[in-house]
């Protein structure tokens, strides 16, 4: 047998064949018997009241089963706490079809259930709903004065640290200064897969919900609380996900409505939202950022202020960490960070890939570029002069931080030393302007409590499971790698199961913590199983391991052998067969080691170098090269990790150049709610992308030494592109995306 060392190797996705052959089943694809189909009717107005729903007209259509609205939903859980999911922000969660109030445009106002999807859709198009419209406010610009500091209601949200030093005075006295405002528009997650729930009615009030979600446990606890179900009666399953990016962190109203209909009708129901309705819930908020930086004559930062204001709904205080990163990415003694949100008549924003940091790094990293130019310094050199050796926000050392190596290796790969500083000073062979820009960021390395279960059968096949998720990131693959390597099995002998509330408890799949949390649980579970196998091996007749201790042996290449002498070995399968046991099992639950972690700041870092070409007459921008260098602990799988970063870079380019949901404030409504007009990059927009991992050895973050790679890759990408555009053209665009008209 060849090597069973898989960790760190570029292993191909174990679920790849299932996906490309169409056997991977998504939420809308489970076929259950006697199913009815739902279709949501959405509000055309942003604020007001429903005055009449002419349900009887569509109920008269043969095949329409029911029209659910606030007029006929059963009485459900009363208190807000029943509607709070694991990542709900402070406030009062939205309840679909709860009352006649309209709180945002595209709010679901009715659910039609019919015998066919086509009929439900048609009925939705003819259902007459009358409204009494009220004045709405959806423009953040008008609410500048109404911003307020939110409470720390949401998991993971940290209010900015207290100011340090005297930033105002330091700014006044410094030789080089800048201040500017930066803006980026709203964005919607828009995974390819539409939100969808297939609810299987199992009789007697029992259901299985196949639901698109990043957390089956979260959806289960949400549904059981609202509908008063027992956990055993409400199984939630999601084995594959066609992209999440944060949109599946909170249970969506589609899941709630589908379950409502199934329980009321005592029948299986499927509900799928439309692409347009994918713009009816959470989004990355439109954010205004104000930065004020000063530098000393030696190029060190004298003062740094970063204030952000973004939108939230009228009913919840959505929060994300926008400014905190600015207090830890660079060394600075005089820092003030401010963070406010303002209420608007729209749905609550929702975490989107690198929430807060993706936005904050736009403000900070463009400001750093402006500051470098004001101080007459190369933007990379300026960053090196302000390298933070400690996290000054919490006054702790980093558990590991190889950002300096990222700067050096990334710059070398990119050829940064050939850059000339003056804007407009570089051109390509065709005479087009060329610009080189840099940006970067810092992201949390978090571990959550997670559990896993493992069982091995006499034929040497291992099954490991945990209720985590696979939203395309590679969870199936890296968990299989960890399990295979820990027990020295070929990866083909490992099956990893996830996305089912019947499996051991696992956190939401988000925050880049799945590898660290579930990975640690899988490793620990497989080690527990290894000990059991070892005990059996010692009991074998003539066992060469009879006198060995567990520390003396290793599991590799399908064998259990002495570390010191590989010839002293037993074949794993033989051990199991000799034992007479049909199956061996182990389970384990792993918590972060707080004692070990407490003295440190746990973070991943990156730096991005981008090259653009600009046609100065026509204002067109192309990003011809990107190098993204990342320090995120140990990399479990070079291939899936690289893919994650490629995706991040592509998204970052979109954020820089084209991606924005446009609201018409007259209607309080997003208008480009389809894939023809909501622009994300296409292949022709993407050229060379290089990904570098500078690995860090870190046994403080978690036993596996991983920091997560799902989000850090996005940081600084948009800023690097905007900075490159400045370098090419001398035009400083401070409101992203940088579209043609901003460069004319």
């Amino acid at each position: 047998m060849s090597t069973t060392n898989y960790i760190g190797k570029p292993t191909s996705r174990v679920d790849g064949p299932a996906k490309v052959t169409g056997t991977a089943t998504y939420a809308a694809e489970y076929s259950v018997a006697n199913m009815a189909y739902g279709y949501v009717v959405s509000s055309p107005i942003a604020k007001g009241k429903i005055t009449k729903i002419h349900a009887e007209e569509v109920l008269a259509l043969p095949g329409v089963v029911q029209v659910f609205s606030h007029e006929n939903v059963p009485s459900l859980a009363w208190f807000d706490r029943s509607y709070k999911d694991d990542v709900a922000p402070g406030g009062s969660p939205f309840r679909a079809l709860h009352d006649a109030d309209i709180k945002f445009s595209q709010q679901p106002v009715a659910l039609i259930v019919a015998e066919t999807f086509e009929l439900a859709r048609y009925a939705a198009s003819v259902l007459r709903v009358e409204y009494q419209q009220e004045d709405h406010e959806t423009s953040l610009e008008t609410q500048r004065a109404k911003g307020y500091e939110p409470g720390a209601g949401k998991t993971g949200f940290q209010p900015p640290p207290a100011p340090r030093g005297n930033p105002d005075k330091a700014w006044e006295e410094a030789p080089h200064r800048m201040e500017a405002e930066y803006v980026h528009g709203a964005q919607h997650h828009n995974p390819m897969e539409l939100f969808s729930t297939t609810v299987e009615w199992r009789g007697e009030g029992k259901i299985t919900a196949y639901d698109k979600t990043q957390g089956v446990m979260n959806v289960q606890q949400y549904l059981t609380k609202i509908f008063g179900l027992k956990k055993d009666d409400c199984r939630v399953v999601n084995e594959y996900m066609g992209g999440g990016f944060g949109s599946g962190l909170r249970p969506q109203y589609s899941a709630y409505l589908a379950v409502l209909a199934a329980l009321e009708l005592k029948r299986s129901v499927r509900l799928t939202l439309t692409r347009e309705q994918m713009f009816s819930f959470g989004h990355r908020p439109h954010t205004l950022q104000y930065l004020k930086l000063a530098a000393n004559a030696d190029g060190t930062l004298a003062a740094l202020q970063h204030h952000a204001l973004h939108e939230t709904s009228q009913f919840e205080d959505y929060t994300e960490n926008v400014v905190n990163w600015s207090g830890m990415l660079y060394q600075c003694e005089n820092v003030k960070l401010g963070y406010q949100i303002a209420k608007l008549d729209m749905y609550t924003p929702l975490d989107m890939r690198a929430p807060g940091a993706a936005s904050g790094s736009i403000g900070l990293e463009i400001a750093m570029d402006e500051m470098a130019y004001a101080a007459g310094l190369d933007p990379l050199e300026f960053r090196l002069r302000n390298y933070a050796e400690r996290d000054q926000n919490v006054d702790k050392p980093f558990s590991s931080k190889k950002l300096r190596e990222c700067y050096h290796q990334g710059a070398a790969k990119f050829g940064w030393d050939k850059r000339t500083q003056a804007p407009g000073s570089m051109r390509n062979a065709d005479g087009k302007l060329v610009g080189w820009g840099v940006g970067g960021g810092v992201w949390d390395a978090t571990q959550q409590k997670a559990a896993a279960k493992a069982s091995i059968t006499a034929d040497g096949k291992l099954t490991v499971s945990s209720a985590t998720g696979e939203n395309g990131t590679g969870t199936y693959t890296i968990m299989s790698q960890i399990a295979a390597e820990t027990l020295g099995l070929p990866i083909e002998a490992v099956t990893f199961k996830l996305g089912d509330t019947d499996l051991p408890e696992s956190p939401l799949q988000g925050g880049s913590w799945t590898a660290a949390s579930v990975g640690s649980a899988v490793q620990s579970t497989c080690e527990a199983l290894a000990e059991k196998i070892f005990k059996l091996a010692r009991k074998m007749d003539d066992s060469p391991l009879r006198d060995a201790k567990f520390e003396d042996v290793e599991f590799a290449s399908g064998q259990l052998r002495l570390r010191a002498d590989h010839s002293q070995a037993v074949v794993l399968r033989d051990v199991l067969q000799a034992s007479g046991e049909a199956k061996l099992e182990a389970d384990s639950s792993v918590m972060p080691n707080m004692v070990k972690q407490n003295g440190y700041s746990l973070h991943s870092h990156n730096v991005v170098f981008a090259e653009v070409t600009v046609d100065e007459d026509l204002g067109t921008v192309h990003v011809t090269r990107v190098v993204n260098a990342i320090a995120a602990g140990r990399i479990l799988n070079l291939k899936t990790a690289r893919s994650q970063v490629l995706g991040s870079v592509v998204w970052g380019l979109g954020m820089a150049l084209m991606e924005e949901t446009v609201m018409d404030h007259k209607f309080g409504r997003y208008m480009n709610h389809n894939f023809a007009e909501y622009h994300v990059p296409v292949n022709a927009d993407i050229h060379d992308i290089d990904v570098l991992f500078v690995e860090e050895e870190d046994d403080i973050v978690n036993p596996l030494g991983v920091k997560g790679i799902g989000e850090v890759g996005m940081l600084g990408v948009a800023a690097a592109v905007a900075n490159a555009v400045f370098h090419a053209t001398g035009k400083r665009v401070r409101d992203l995306p940088v579209m043609i008209d901003k460069l004319l």
Binding site: D664, R669, A684, I740
Partner: protein, 340 residues
């Protein structure tokens, strides 16, 4: 989407008759626009007349040296047809600059002429729109009108015709062949689409029930000196903010004949014959092109978020005419406009 019936016509006369006998019916070509509009409830036909079995998919030479493009030939087959590539490379480039390969494989030439505007409000039933619902008002005026027009707009509508293919056709000036309840007729391409005026619900001058059967391109294809320049918010698969189709006939450096049409600016593909006349007899220089570009947008009017189109159109015209004069475009060079 409402329930509808469907029939498949195999002869032109049957198609016309079938359509005439169903009051709320539509012809169905590739369906890439109509089906979308039905899903959004913007179009609600109760009967569809399927056209794809009509014998109108051919592309054939005409005795006068021109080329006939069947109405049911797909956009892809048209663009890649040998005669189109070699003699009408401007058309090849314009088609390939539009949509995506998948869409072009399904889309038909007739459907391309008939595709409706991409104005955001037209697509969203929650907002007033005169084109969708005459008399309800125009939300784009005073609203988000980045994709809207700057030339020939009216108080009731500022939408644009979104086609790329049609911009090249406007420059090449074919005749449109139609067949209807009252017989066959031809329409000059320039007279096919119309300006919104106070009837924005009408995109073109087809009579009720008329079917497009083909397009007859004249012999002149400007195959030596041409350019199709498309500017958009990403490198592919986006509608034009501004596009320019330019064709020149040069004698030395003097312009003998010229064609100039713009997309993304008006309710119809915007051919400017006065500008073409200004070019004739002039030297093919940047100076000439600038004067002509200034003339084309002299009466242009911005509506807020699309103000930039006036300046962008000017610059794009100059660039396209320069490229045409240099004569260095090749039909196969489909990514020309997106080359970094």
């Amino acid at each position: 989407m409402n329930p509808f019936t469907y029939s498949r016509a195999t002869a032109v006369a049957d198609a016309v008759r079938d359509k005439a006998s169903h009051p709320d019916s539509e012809y169905l070509g590739g369906g890439t626009n109509l089906i979308d509009l039905m899903k959004e409830n913007v179009a609600r036909p109760t009967h569809l007349v399927g056209l794809n079995k009509l014998p109108l998919a051919d592309i054939e030479a005409l005795p006068d040296g021109g080329l006939r493009l069947g109405a049911l030939a797909t956009n892809a087959d048209t663009a890649w047809h040998d005669e189109v590539k070699s003699r009408y490379p401007l058309l090849n480039q314009a088609i390939l600059a539009g949509a995506s390969p998948q869409l072009r494989n399904a889309a038909t030439n007739g459907g391309n002429l008939m595709q409706r505007t991409r104005c955001y409000y037209f697509y969203d039933l929650a907002t007033p729109c005169n084109k969708r619902e005459p008399g309800s008002g125009c939300s784009a005026i005073g609203g988000y009108n980045r994709v809207c027009g700057i030339l020939g707009t009216s108080e009731s509508c500022i939408a644009t015709h979104p086609s790329d293919m049609c911009v090249a056709l406007a420059a090449l000036a074919p005749t449109v062949r139609v067949s209807g309840p009252n017989g066959d007729r031809t329409i000059a391409f320039d007279d096919f689409h119309r300006l919104p005026g106070d009837q924005p619900e009408k995109d073109n001058n087809l009579e009720p029930g008329e079917l497009i059967t083909g397009l007859d391109l004249p012999a002149k294809g400007f195959e030596k000196n041409f350019s199709y320049l498309k500017l958009r918010d990403r490198s592919s698969y986006a509608f034009a903010l501004i596009s320019v189709a330019a064709g020149l006939e040069l004698e030395g450096n003097t312009i003998k004949d010229a064609r100039l049409a713009l997309g993304g600016v008006a309710h119809k593909p915007w051919r400017d014959q006065e500008a073409e006349n200004m070019l004739k007899g002039q030297p093919a220089t940047e100076d000439t092109f600038r004067r002509v570009a200034a003339k084309v947008v002299a009466d242009a009017k911005g509506h807020g978020s699309n103000d930039f189109k006036i300046e962008l159109a000017k610059r794009a015209i100059v660039r396209a005419l320069k490229q045409a004069a240099e004569g260095n475009q090749h039909a196969a060079d489909v990514f020309l406009n997106s080359n970094p």
